[in-house]
Amino acid sequence: MLKSALGAGALFGFGLAFSTMIQPRVVLSFLRFQDMGLMLVLGGAVVATFLAYRFVPKLLKRPLLSGSFGAHESVMDHSTIVGAAIFGIGWGITGVCPGPAIAGLGAGSWELLYAIAGIALGALLQGLMAGRSTNARRN
């Protein structure tokens, strides 16, 4: 299981590096409409993933190393949209999103540790706030 995750992550990280998505300035050049490459990266990744999600369960009764196939958990509420809006503002400031922030370390971009620290702090704050509102509802 862990070796699978490591290997799959390595393909993911190789793809991020090969497509230059680990370089924030390339992402920012997309967000400023100077280079549409990110659309091809996202499009290629979505198509490949779609084929896997669609056809692997038809070819295999269950995953090769575990009991059952998971499904993407999808919830439609205001957090989905408000959170996405906040995420986009941060993405527009940095050109960094959660995966590439980690992958870039493999190419020696240690500056991304600042982004990772920020993302981890943001995730902590979100959990603390969400936990508090859940408790408030329970009370």
């Binding site: 230059t20 499009g43 958990e73 993405w91 971009s109 982004a115 990772i116 902590l124 704050l125």
Partner: protein, 171 residues
């Protein structure tokens, strides 16, 4: 600069869309397909859905005792998510060994910008339960409407933010 060079390098009759990809387009497509292959391999081997932002919450479950961080969905996934994240570093390192030009990739965004933007990235992605990979890749590939709306929303706010910052002279 690059844009100008390519504008002039094409025959005058070349349509404007040629400049959509001033750095070429094959590495984008090949890289994107490889990313999807990684997500697909994870699914075929383990059945897991491999978004990336959850690791920033699940890793806190090792340290923070609050109920939110001790929920089973975080605790039960925290180890494979860390292995998946470590794989990202390994994969980019392999790329660097094979294709890097011998010097590290330098990121020239100021630290305060990385850190401040990072807080918003982390807070927003976890609030939305997905990021560019969770909603953008896994969610769209699962044909989920909430993910499509999330992607359109974060693309819009990112476009606005990046262009406003460019106008006031940010990097």
């Amino acid at each position: 600069m690059v844009l100008t060079r390519h504008l002039f390098s094409f025959p005058p009759s070349a349509p404007l869309p040629m400049t959509l990809f001033p750095q070429g387009w094959t590495h984008y497509l090949v890289g994107g397909l490889t990313i999807g292959l990684g997500v697909g391999v994870l699914f075929a081997l383990t059945g897991l859905i491999g978004g990336m932002s959850s690791v920033y919450s699940s890793t806190w479950s090792f340290m923070v005792r609050r109920p939110f961080f001790q929920e089973p969905r975080l605790v039960s996934s925290r180890v494979w998510r860390l292995a998946y994240a470590a794989g990202l570093i390994v994969g980019a390192f392999v790329w660097w060994l094979a294709f890097g030009d011998g010097v590290r990739v330098v990121v020239s965004i100021p630290p305060w910008q990385l850190a401040l933007g990072g807080v918003l990235v982390g807070y927003g992605a976890r609030m939305s339960r997905g990021c560019t990979s969770g909603h953008g890749i896994c969610g769209l590939a699962s044909l989920k409407l909430p993910s499509l709306l999330a992607v359109l929303t974060f693309m819009t706010t990112a476009f606005i933010t990046a262009n406003l910052l460019a106008r006031v002279g940010g990097s």
